[in-house]
Amino acid sequence: MAGWFDANLVSILNGFAIGALLFILAVGLSIVFGMMDVLNLAHGAFFLVGSYLAASFVAGGSWTGFLTALGLAAVIGLLAGGVLSGLTEPLARRPILDQALLTLGISLIVAEVLSIVYGNDVRSVPPPPGLDGSTDVAGNAYPTYRLLLIGLGLLLALVVWLVVERTSVGALVRASVADREMVSAMGIDNRKVKVAVLGIGSLLATVAGVLAAPVYGARPGLDETILLLALVVVVIGGLGSIRGALIGALVIGQVESLGRALLPDLASFILFGTLALVLIVRPRGLFAGKVAHA
Protein backbone atom coordinates (compact mmCIF):
# COMPACT_ATOMS: atom_id res chain seq x y z
CA MET A 1 0.00 0.00 0.00
CA ALA A 2 2.73 2.38 1.02
CA GLY A 3 4.67 1.47 -2.10
CA TRP A 4 1.62 2.06 -4.30
CA PHE A 5 0.99 5.37 -2.61
CA ASP A 6 4.60 6.38 -3.10
CA ALA A 7 4.60 5.41 -6.75
CA ASN A 8 1.45 7.38 -7.46
CA LEU A 9 2.03 10.36 -5.17
CA VAL A 10 2.68 12.72 -8.05
CA SER A 11 -0.56 11.67 -9.78
CA ILE A 12 -2.49 12.08 -6.53
CA LEU A 13 -1.05 15.56 -5.98
CA ASN A 14 -1.84 16.46 -9.59
CA GLY A 15 -5.36 15.26 -8.94
CA PHE A 16 -5.66 17.63 -5.99
CA ALA A 17 -4.39 20.51 -8.12
CA ILE A 18 -6.98 19.76 -10.82
CA GLY A 19 -9.64 19.23 -8.15
CA ALA A 20 -8.95 22.57 -6.49
CA LEU A 21 -9.13 24.36 -9.84
CA LEU A 22 -12.30 22.54 -10.80
CA PHE A 23 -13.98 23.48 -7.54
CA ILE A 24 -13.28 27.17 -8.07
CA LEU A 25 -14.78 26.85 -11.54
CA ALA A 26 -17.68 24.59 -10.72
CA VAL A 27 -18.92 26.46 -7.67
CA GLY A 28 -19.89 29.52 -9.73
CA LEU A 29 -21.50 27.38 -12.40
CA SER A 30 -23.42 25.34 -9.86
CA ILE A 31 -24.79 28.21 -7.77
CA VAL A 32 -25.89 30.22 -10.79
CA PHE A 33 -27.64 27.23 -12.29
CA GLY A 34 -29.19 26.12 -9.01
CA MET A 35 -30.36 29.62 -8.26
CA MET A 36 -31.37 31.12 -11.58
CA ASP A 37 -31.54 28.21 -14.01
CA VAL A 38 -28.87 29.96 -16.06
CA LEU A 39 -26.51 27.35 -17.49
CA ASN A 40 -23.45 29.47 -18.19
CA LEU A 41 -21.62 27.74 -21.03
CA ALA A 42 -19.34 30.79 -21.34
CA HIS A 43 -17.67 29.77 -18.09
CA GLY A 44 -14.89 27.87 -19.88
CA ALA A 45 -14.25 30.82 -22.20
CA PHE A 46 -13.89 33.14 -19.17
CA PHE A 47 -11.32 30.71 -17.80
CA LEU A 48 -9.41 30.87 -21.08
CA VAL A 49 -9.49 34.70 -21.00
CA GLY A 50 -7.67 34.42 -17.66
CA SER A 51 -5.12 32.01 -19.13
CA TYR A 52 -4.34 34.34 -22.06
CA LEU A 53 -4.09 37.31 -19.71
CA ALA A 54 -1.43 35.34 -17.88
CA ALA A 55 0.27 34.53 -21.19
CA SER A 56 0.33 38.24 -22.07
CA PHE A 57 1.62 39.61 -18.79
CA VAL A 58 3.79 36.84 -17.35
CA ALA A 59 5.89 36.36 -20.50
CA GLY A 60 9.20 36.94 -18.72
CA GLY A 61 8.07 35.28 -15.52
CA SER A 62 7.67 38.24 -13.17
CA TRP A 63 5.58 38.77 -10.05
CA THR A 64 4.41 42.14 -11.32
CA GLY A 65 3.12 40.53 -14.49
CA PHE A 66 1.47 37.69 -12.59
CA LEU A 67 -0.28 40.01 -10.14
CA THR A 68 -1.30 42.38 -12.94
CA ALA A 69 -2.86 39.44 -14.78
CA LEU A 70 -4.69 38.36 -11.61
CA GLY A 71 -6.04 41.86 -10.95
CA LEU A 72 -7.12 42.40 -14.55
CA ALA A 73 -8.71 38.95 -14.64
CA ALA A 74 -10.72 39.74 -11.51
CA VAL A 75 -12.03 43.02 -12.95
CA ILE A 76 -12.77 41.53 -16.38
CA GLY A 77 -14.50 38.50 -14.80
CA LEU A 78 -16.68 40.69 -12.60
CA LEU A 79 -17.69 42.88 -15.56
CA ALA A 80 -18.26 39.91 -17.88
CA GLY A 81 -20.53 38.29 -15.30
CA GLY A 82 -22.52 41.50 -14.95
CA VAL A 83 -22.90 41.83 -18.72
CA LEU A 84 -23.91 38.17 -19.02
CA SER A 85 -26.50 38.67 -16.31
CA GLY A 86 -28.01 41.56 -18.24
CA LEU A 87 -27.99 39.59 -21.49
CA THR A 88 -29.77 36.58 -19.98
CA GLU A 89 -32.39 38.72 -18.23
CA PRO A 90 -34.74 39.08 -21.26
CA LEU A 91 -34.63 35.29 -21.58
CA ALA A 92 -35.38 34.68 -17.89
CA ARG A 93 -38.88 33.38 -18.54
CA ARG A 94 -37.88 31.33 -21.57
CA PRO A 95 -36.74 27.68 -21.44
CA ILE A 96 -33.29 26.88 -20.03
CA LEU A 97 -32.10 25.86 -23.50
CA ASP A 98 -32.55 29.41 -24.86
CA GLN A 99 -30.24 30.82 -22.21
CA ALA A 100 -27.77 27.97 -22.69
CA LEU A 101 -27.66 28.76 -26.43
CA LEU A 102 -27.01 32.43 -25.69
CA THR A 103 -24.09 31.63 -23.38
CA LEU A 104 -22.78 29.03 -25.87
CA GLY A 105 -22.82 31.73 -28.56
CA ILE A 106 -20.94 34.12 -26.27
CA SER A 107 -18.37 31.44 -25.50
CA LEU A 108 -17.80 30.79 -29.23
CA ILE A 109 -17.35 34.51 -29.89
CA VAL A 110 -14.92 34.92 -27.00
CA ALA A 111 -12.91 31.85 -28.06
CA GLU A 112 -12.76 33.11 -31.67
CA VAL A 113 -11.62 36.58 -30.61
CA LEU A 114 -8.91 35.02 -28.43
CA SER A 115 -7.79 32.88 -31.36
CA ILE A 116 -7.61 35.95 -33.63
CA VAL A 117 -5.66 37.98 -31.07
CA TYR A 118 -3.29 35.28 -29.80
CA GLY A 119 -3.14 32.84 -32.69
CA ASN A 120 -3.57 29.10 -32.46
CA ASP A 121 -0.21 28.17 -30.95
CA VAL A 122 0.03 26.79 -27.46
CA ARG A 123 1.35 29.50 -25.14
CA SER A 124 3.24 28.26 -22.12
CA VAL A 125 3.34 30.47 -19.07
CA PRO A 126 6.20 30.34 -16.55
CA PRO A 127 5.38 30.38 -12.84
CA PRO A 128 6.30 33.56 -10.95
CA PRO A 129 9.96 33.79 -9.81
CA GLY A 130 10.75 31.64 -6.79
CA LEU A 131 7.95 29.22 -7.55
CA ASP A 132 9.43 27.77 -10.72
CA GLY A 133 11.53 25.10 -9.00
CA SER A 134 10.48 21.88 -7.40
CA THR A 135 9.97 20.82 -3.82
CA ASP A 136 10.68 17.46 -2.27
CA VAL A 137 7.46 15.69 -1.27
CA ALA A 138 8.13 12.34 0.43
CA GLY A 139 11.09 11.70 -1.81
CA ASN A 140 9.44 12.93 -5.01
CA ALA A 141 10.39 16.15 -6.72
CA TYR A 142 7.14 18.04 -7.25
CA PRO A 143 6.73 21.45 -8.93
CA THR A 144 6.53 24.12 -6.24
CA TYR A 145 3.93 26.13 -8.13
CA ARG A 146 1.56 23.17 -8.24
CA LEU A 147 1.86 22.77 -4.46
CA LEU A 148 0.98 26.43 -4.09
CA LEU A 149 -1.92 25.96 -6.50
CA ILE A 150 -3.29 23.12 -4.35
CA GLY A 151 -2.96 25.26 -1.21
CA LEU A 152 -4.47 28.32 -2.84
CA GLY A 153 -7.28 26.30 -4.39
CA LEU A 154 -8.17 24.71 -1.08
CA LEU A 155 -7.98 28.13 0.61
CA LEU A 156 -10.31 29.66 -1.99
CA ALA A 157 -12.61 26.66 -1.61
CA LEU A 158 -12.69 27.26 2.16
CA VAL A 159 -13.40 30.98 1.72
CA VAL A 160 -16.22 30.33 -0.74
CA TRP A 161 -17.68 27.67 1.54
CA LEU A 162 -17.52 29.97 4.59
CA VAL A 163 -19.13 32.85 2.72
CA VAL A 164 -21.96 30.71 1.37
CA GLU A 165 -22.62 28.62 4.47
CA ARG A 166 -21.85 31.04 7.29
CA THR A 167 -22.69 34.61 6.25
CA SER A 168 -25.98 36.41 5.73
CA VAL A 169 -25.11 37.01 2.08
CA GLY A 170 -24.58 33.27 1.74
CA ALA A 171 -27.93 32.61 3.41
CA LEU A 172 -29.55 34.82 0.77
CA VAL A 173 -27.83 32.83 -1.98
CA ARG A 174 -28.90 29.49 -0.47
CA ALA A 175 -32.45 30.76 -0.01
CA SER A 176 -32.45 31.78 -3.70
CA VAL A 177 -31.32 28.29 -4.70
CA ALA A 178 -34.06 26.70 -2.56
CA ASP A 179 -36.96 28.94 -3.65
CA ARG A 180 -36.24 32.22 -5.39
CA GLU A 181 -39.89 33.25 -5.71
CA MET A 182 -40.14 33.39 -1.93
CA VAL A 183 -36.96 35.47 -1.77
CA SER A 184 -38.57 37.87 -4.20
CA ALA A 185 -41.79 37.87 -2.13
CA MET A 186 -39.69 39.23 0.76
CA GLY A 187 -38.95 42.38 -1.23
CA ILE A 188 -35.54 41.30 -2.54
CA ASP A 189 -34.83 41.91 -6.23
CA ASN A 190 -33.69 38.54 -7.64
CA ARG A 191 -31.92 40.28 -10.51
CA LYS A 192 -29.46 41.97 -8.13
CA VAL A 193 -28.66 38.63 -6.50
CA LYS A 194 -28.13 37.16 -9.97
CA VAL A 195 -25.77 39.96 -11.09
CA ALA A 196 -23.73 39.54 -7.91
CA VAL A 197 -23.51 35.76 -8.13
CA LEU A 198 -22.76 35.71 -11.87
CA GLY A 199 -20.16 38.44 -11.34
CA ILE A 200 -18.37 36.59 -8.54
CA GLY A 201 -18.73 33.25 -10.34
CA SER A 202 -17.18 34.66 -13.52
CA LEU A 203 -14.44 36.36 -11.48
CA LEU A 204 -13.56 32.97 -10.00
CA ALA A 205 -13.41 31.52 -13.55
CA THR A 206 -11.04 34.18 -14.93
CA VAL A 207 -8.87 34.10 -11.80
CA ALA A 208 -8.71 30.30 -12.00
CA GLY A 209 -7.58 30.74 -15.63
CA VAL A 210 -4.63 32.88 -14.51
CA LEU A 211 -3.72 30.52 -11.67
CA ALA A 212 -3.88 27.49 -13.95
CA ALA A 213 -1.84 29.05 -16.78
CA PRO A 214 1.61 28.07 -15.42
CA VAL A 215 0.39 24.45 -15.38
CA TYR A 216 -1.81 24.13 -18.46
CA GLY A 217 -0.66 27.08 -20.54
CA ALA A 218 -3.12 28.83 -22.86
CA ARG A 219 -4.37 27.26 -26.06
CA PRO A 220 -7.50 27.09 -28.21
CA GLY A 221 -9.83 24.32 -27.04
CA LEU A 222 -8.77 24.54 -23.41
CA ASP A 223 -12.04 26.37 -22.70
CA GLU A 224 -14.11 23.42 -23.89
CA THR A 225 -12.05 20.86 -22.00
CA ILE A 226 -12.36 22.85 -18.79
CA LEU A 227 -16.08 23.57 -19.25
CA LEU A 228 -16.81 19.89 -19.81
CA LEU A 229 -14.94 18.90 -16.66
CA ALA A 230 -16.70 21.60 -14.63
CA LEU A 231 -20.10 20.49 -15.95
CA VAL A 232 -19.35 16.90 -14.98
CA VAL A 233 -18.43 18.15 -11.49
CA VAL A 234 -21.68 20.11 -11.23
CA VAL A 235 -23.77 17.16 -12.35
CA ILE A 236 -21.99 14.77 -10.00
CA GLY A 237 -22.12 17.15 -7.04
CA GLY A 238 -25.75 18.18 -7.48
CA LEU A 239 -27.03 21.54 -8.71
CA GLY A 240 -26.66 24.43 -6.32
CA SER A 241 -24.70 22.53 -3.69
CA ILE A 242 -21.35 23.86 -2.43
CA ARG A 243 -20.45 20.64 -0.68
CA GLY A 244 -21.39 18.71 -3.82
CA ALA A 245 -19.17 20.91 -5.98
CA LEU A 246 -16.23 20.39 -3.61
CA ILE A 247 -16.58 16.61 -3.42
CA GLY A 248 -17.35 16.32 -7.14
CA ALA A 249 -14.26 18.42 -7.97
CA LEU A 250 -11.97 16.34 -5.76
CA VAL A 251 -13.36 13.09 -7.22
CA ILE A 252 -13.02 14.26 -10.82
CA GLY A 253 -9.56 15.65 -10.08
CA GLN A 254 -8.42 12.19 -9.00
CA VAL A 255 -10.31 10.46 -11.83
CA GLU A 256 -8.58 12.73 -14.33
CA SER A 257 -5.11 12.36 -12.86
CA LEU A 258 -4.83 9.08 -10.99
CA GLY A 259 -7.32 7.34 -13.30
CA ARG A 260 -5.34 8.31 -16.37
CA ALA A 261 -2.05 7.27 -14.77
CA LEU A 262 -3.30 3.87 -13.64
CA LEU A 263 -5.54 3.00 -16.59
CA PRO A 264 -4.18 4.95 -19.57
CA ASP A 265 -6.07 2.79 -22.07
CA LEU A 266 -9.39 3.68 -20.47
CA ALA A 267 -8.58 7.39 -20.04
CA SER A 268 -11.45 8.79 -22.08
CA PHE A 269 -13.93 6.27 -20.76
CA ILE A 270 -13.19 6.63 -17.09
CA LEU A 271 -14.41 10.24 -16.71
CA PHE A 272 -17.80 9.61 -18.25
CA GLY A 273 -17.96 6.17 -16.66
CA THR A 274 -17.79 7.94 -13.30
CA LEU A 275 -20.47 10.39 -14.39
CA ALA A 276 -22.73 7.57 -15.60
CA LEU A 277 -22.22 5.66 -12.37
CA VAL A 278 -23.21 8.65 -10.23
CA LEU A 279 -26.23 9.36 -12.41
CA ILE A 280 -27.42 5.76 -12.12
CA VAL A 281 -27.00 5.63 -8.34
CA ARG A 282 -27.94 9.24 -7.52
CA PRO A 283 -29.77 10.81 -10.47
CA ARG A 284 -29.93 14.27 -8.81
CA GLY A 285 -26.24 14.27 -7.93
CA LEU A 286 -24.58 13.54 -4.63
CA PHE A 287 -25.87 16.62 -2.85
CA ALA A 288 -28.71 18.27 -4.75
CA GLY A 289 -29.25 21.75 -3.28
CA LYS A 290 -32.45 22.47 -5.13
CA VAL A 291 -35.59 21.45 -3.30
CA ALA A 292 -38.78 20.87 -5.22
CA HIS A 293 -41.94 22.49 -3.93
CA ALA A 294 -45.58 21.99 -4.81
Binding site: A171, V177, A178, M182, A185, G187
Partner: protein, 233 residues
Protein backbone atom coordinates in the same frame (compact mmCIF):
# COMPACT_ATOMS: atom_id res chain seq x y z
CA UNK B 1 -56.49 49.26 2.05
CA UNK B 2 -56.69 46.61 -0.67
CA UNK B 3 -58.77 47.44 -3.75
CA UNK B 4 -59.02 44.91 -6.57
CA UNK B 5 -60.99 45.75 -9.73
CA UNK B 6 -61.76 43.53 -12.73
CA UNK B 7 -58.71 41.35 -12.15
CA UNK B 8 -58.21 38.73 -14.83
CA UNK B 9 -55.31 36.34 -14.68
CA UNK B 10 -54.21 32.78 -15.22
CA UNK B 11 -51.61 30.54 -16.75
CA UNK B 12 -50.45 29.88 -20.30
CA UNK B 13 -53.52 28.14 -21.66
CA UNK B 14 -56.26 28.99 -19.20
CA UNK B 15 -57.69 32.14 -17.70
CA UNK B 16 -58.48 31.37 -14.07
CA UNK B 17 -59.58 34.72 -12.64
CA UNK B 18 -62.54 36.06 -14.60
CA UNK B 19 -62.74 39.60 -13.27
CA UNK B 20 -62.25 39.67 -9.50
CA UNK B 21 -63.50 42.67 -7.51
CA UNK B 22 -62.50 42.79 -3.87
CA UNK B 23 -62.06 45.41 -1.14
CA UNK B 24 -60.53 44.89 2.26
CA UNK B 25 -60.47 47.70 4.78
CA UNK B 26 -57.39 48.54 6.88
CA UNK B 27 -56.87 46.24 9.86
CA UNK B 28 -59.62 43.86 8.76
CA UNK B 29 -59.34 40.10 8.33
CA UNK B 30 -61.04 38.65 5.27
CA UNK B 31 -61.66 34.90 5.09
CA UNK B 32 -61.59 33.78 1.47
CA UNK B 33 -63.48 30.55 0.88
CA UNK B 34 -64.35 28.47 -2.15
CA UNK B 35 -64.14 24.97 -3.55
CA UNK B 36 -60.92 23.59 -4.98
CA UNK B 37 -59.97 25.06 -8.34
CA UNK B 38 -62.08 28.23 -8.19
CA UNK B 39 -59.00 30.47 -8.29
CA UNK B 40 -58.19 31.29 -4.66
CA UNK B 41 -54.48 30.52 -4.94
CA UNK B 42 -54.27 32.15 -8.38
CA UNK B 43 -55.77 35.28 -6.82
CA UNK B 44 -53.16 35.25 -4.02
CA UNK B 45 -50.35 34.68 -6.54
CA UNK B 46 -51.62 37.45 -8.81
CA UNK B 47 -51.94 39.91 -5.91
CA UNK B 48 -48.34 39.09 -4.90
CA UNK B 49 -47.02 39.48 -8.46
CA UNK B 50 -46.04 35.83 -8.87
CA UNK B 51 -48.56 35.55 -11.73
CA UNK B 52 -49.06 38.45 -14.16
CA UNK B 53 -52.64 39.63 -14.65
CA UNK B 54 -54.02 40.15 -18.16
CA UNK B 55 -56.37 42.91 -17.03
CA UNK B 56 -57.53 44.77 -13.95
CA UNK B 57 -56.08 46.85 -11.15
CA UNK B 58 -54.73 46.09 -7.68
CA UNK B 59 -54.20 48.97 -5.28
CA UNK B 60 -52.49 48.68 -1.91
CA UNK B 61 -53.04 51.86 0.13
CA UNK B 62 -53.73 53.61 -3.16
CA UNK B 63 -50.52 52.37 -4.87
CA UNK B 64 -51.08 50.45 -8.11
CA UNK B 65 -49.20 47.13 -8.01
CA UNK B 66 -50.96 44.98 -10.64
CA UNK B 67 -48.38 43.35 -12.90
CA UNK B 68 -45.41 44.52 -10.85
CA UNK B 69 -42.64 42.14 -9.79
CA UNK B 70 -43.09 40.35 -6.44
CA UNK B 71 -40.27 42.31 -4.79
CA UNK B 72 -41.95 45.59 -5.79
CA UNK B 73 -45.28 44.35 -4.40
CA UNK B 74 -43.53 43.26 -1.20
CA UNK B 75 -41.93 46.68 -0.81
CA UNK B 76 -45.36 48.24 -1.24
CA UNK B 77 -46.23 46.53 2.05
CA UNK B 78 -47.54 43.09 1.11
CA UNK B 79 -46.40 39.86 2.80
CA UNK B 80 -47.06 36.31 1.67
CA UNK B 81 -47.57 33.12 3.68
CA UNK B 82 -47.84 30.73 0.75
CA UNK B 83 -49.59 27.44 0.33
CA UNK B 84 -47.28 24.60 1.33
CA UNK B 85 -45.26 27.10 3.52
CA UNK B 86 -42.30 27.14 1.09
CA UNK B 87 -39.71 27.74 3.77
CA UNK B 88 -36.09 27.47 2.57
CA UNK B 89 -35.35 23.91 3.65
CA UNK B 90 -31.55 24.13 4.03
CA UNK B 91 -31.61 27.39 6.02
CA UNK B 92 -31.91 27.44 9.79
CA UNK B 93 -34.77 29.17 11.60
CA UNK B 94 -32.36 31.92 12.67
CA UNK B 95 -31.24 32.46 9.07
CA UNK B 96 -34.87 32.82 7.98
CA UNK B 97 -35.56 35.33 10.73
CA UNK B 98 -32.39 37.34 10.05
CA UNK B 99 -32.98 37.52 6.30
CA UNK B 100 -36.54 38.73 6.81
CA UNK B 101 -35.68 41.10 9.66
CA UNK B 102 -33.03 42.80 7.56
CA UNK B 103 -35.70 43.66 4.98
CA UNK B 104 -38.19 44.92 7.52
CA UNK B 105 -36.06 46.70 10.11
CA UNK B 106 -37.43 50.07 11.08
CA UNK B 107 -40.53 49.78 8.91
CA UNK B 108 -42.96 48.74 11.61
CA UNK B 109 -43.53 47.10 14.97
CA UNK B 110 -42.24 43.59 14.16
CA UNK B 111 -38.73 42.53 15.07
CA UNK B 112 -37.31 39.12 16.01
CA UNK B 113 -38.06 39.27 19.79
CA UNK B 114 -41.59 40.45 19.08
CA UNK B 115 -42.26 37.70 16.53
CA UNK B 116 -40.82 35.05 18.85
CA UNK B 117 -43.20 36.29 21.54
CA UNK B 118 -46.06 35.64 19.12
CA UNK B 119 -44.63 32.29 17.96
CA UNK B 120 -42.61 31.01 20.93
CA UNK B 121 -42.15 27.53 19.47
CA UNK B 122 -39.75 28.96 16.88
CA UNK B 123 -37.45 30.21 19.63
CA UNK B 124 -36.84 26.63 20.71
CA UNK B 125 -35.94 25.59 17.17
CA UNK B 126 -33.63 28.41 16.16
CA UNK B 127 -30.68 26.23 15.24
CA UNK B 128 -32.70 23.69 13.26
CA UNK B 129 -32.83 23.64 9.48
CA UNK B 130 -36.32 24.52 8.27
CA UNK B 131 -36.52 21.20 6.43
CA UNK B 132 -36.33 19.37 9.77
CA UNK B 133 -39.25 21.22 11.36
CA UNK B 134 -42.75 19.81 11.75
CA UNK B 135 -45.49 21.10 9.44
CA UNK B 136 -46.84 23.35 12.19
CA UNK B 137 -43.42 24.78 12.94
CA UNK B 138 -42.78 25.40 9.25
CA UNK B 139 -46.11 27.25 9.08
CA UNK B 140 -45.09 29.40 12.05
CA UNK B 141 -41.76 30.08 10.35
CA UNK B 142 -43.54 31.09 7.13
CA UNK B 143 -45.69 33.48 9.18
CA UNK B 144 -42.67 34.87 11.03
CA UNK B 145 -40.79 35.37 7.77
CA UNK B 146 -43.66 37.36 6.28
CA UNK B 147 -44.29 39.34 9.45
CA UNK B 148 -40.66 40.42 9.91
CA UNK B 149 -40.79 42.36 6.64
CA UNK B 150 -43.37 44.51 8.46
CA UNK B 151 -46.13 44.25 5.88
CA UNK B 152 -49.39 46.18 6.17
CA UNK B 153 -51.24 43.47 4.24
CA UNK B 154 -50.57 39.74 4.69
CA UNK B 155 -51.86 37.17 2.20
CA UNK B 156 -52.17 33.69 3.75
CA UNK B 157 -52.93 30.66 1.61
CA UNK B 158 -54.39 27.74 3.55
CA UNK B 159 -52.37 28.19 6.74
CA UNK B 160 -54.13 25.26 8.46
CA UNK B 161 -53.50 22.78 5.65
CA UNK B 162 -52.34 19.44 7.02
CA UNK B 163 -51.96 20.66 10.61
CA UNK B 164 -53.26 19.08 13.83
CA UNK B 165 -56.20 20.94 15.46
CA UNK B 166 -54.09 22.10 18.42
CA UNK B 167 -51.56 23.65 16.00
CA UNK B 168 -54.36 25.26 13.97
CA UNK B 169 -55.43 27.01 17.18
CA UNK B 170 -51.90 28.40 17.57
CA UNK B 171 -52.01 29.69 13.99
CA UNK B 172 -55.38 31.29 14.82
CA UNK B 173 -53.81 33.04 17.81
CA UNK B 174 -50.97 34.28 15.64
CA UNK B 175 -53.47 35.73 13.16
CA UNK B 176 -55.31 37.44 16.03
CA UNK B 177 -51.97 38.83 17.24
CA UNK B 178 -51.22 40.30 13.82
CA UNK B 179 -54.70 41.81 13.61
CA UNK B 180 -54.25 43.39 17.04
CA UNK B 181 -51.19 45.14 15.63
CA UNK B 182 -53.25 46.60 12.78
CA UNK B 183 -52.16 44.21 10.01
CA UNK B 184 -54.75 43.64 7.27
CA UNK B 185 -55.15 39.99 6.30
CA UNK B 186 -56.59 37.95 3.47
CA UNK B 187 -56.78 34.33 4.64
CA UNK B 188 -57.64 31.58 2.17
CA UNK B 189 -59.01 28.68 4.19
CA UNK B 190 -60.68 25.31 3.77
CA UNK B 191 -60.99 24.96 7.54
CA UNK B 192 -64.23 26.82 8.29
CA UNK B 193 -63.57 26.63 12.02
CA UNK B 194 -60.38 28.66 11.63
CA UNK B 195 -61.88 31.02 9.05
CA UNK B 196 -64.85 31.78 11.31
CA UNK B 197 -62.58 32.22 14.33
CA UNK B 198 -60.29 34.83 12.75
CA UNK B 199 -62.22 36.58 9.95
CA UNK B 200 -64.28 39.76 10.28
CA UNK B 201 -65.81 39.08 6.91
CA UNK B 202 -66.17 36.13 4.57
CA UNK B 203 -65.84 36.24 0.79
CA UNK B 204 -66.63 33.24 -1.37
CA UNK B 205 -65.11 32.60 -4.78
CA UNK B 206 -66.61 30.52 -7.55
CA UNK B 207 -65.49 30.12 -11.17
CA UNK B 208 -62.82 32.79 -10.93
CA UNK B 209 -64.96 35.49 -9.33
CA UNK B 210 -65.93 36.69 -5.88
CA UNK B 211 -69.59 35.74 -5.75
CA UNK B 212 -70.51 36.37 -2.15
CA UNK B 213 -69.45 38.67 0.63
CA UNK B 214 -70.85 39.05 4.13
CA UNK B 215 -69.79 39.66 7.74
CA UNK B 216 -68.68 36.42 9.40
CA UNK B 217 -71.55 36.36 11.91
CA UNK B 218 -74.12 36.77 9.16
CA UNK B 219 -72.44 34.12 7.02
CA UNK B 220 -72.52 31.63 9.89
CA UNK B 221 -76.19 32.35 10.58
CA UNK B 222 -77.30 31.82 7.00
CA UNK B 223 -76.08 28.33 6.18
CA UNK B 224 -77.74 28.32 2.75
CA UNK B 225 -74.84 30.28 1.19
CA UNK B 226 -72.22 27.95 2.57
CA UNK B 227 -74.28 25.03 1.41
CA UNK B 228 -74.76 26.33 -2.12
CA UNK B 229 -71.22 27.61 -2.72
CA UNK B 230 -69.04 25.35 -0.62
CA UNK B 231 -71.08 22.16 -0.54
CA UNK B 232 -71.11 22.07 3.24
CA UNK B 233 -73.99 22.22 5.68
Amino acid sequence: MLEVRGLRSGYKRSTVLQGVDLDVGGGRVLGLLGRNGVGKTTLIHTLMGLVSPSAGTVRVDGVEVAGRRPDVVARAGVGLVPQGRRVWAPLTVTEHLDLAARRGRGRGPWDVPRVLELLPRLGERRRHAAGQLSGGEQQMLAIARALLTNPRLVLMDEPSDGLAPAVVDLIGEAIAGMKAEGVTLVVVEQDLHLAFAVADEIAVMDKGQVVHRSPTLEFRRDSSVAHALLGVA
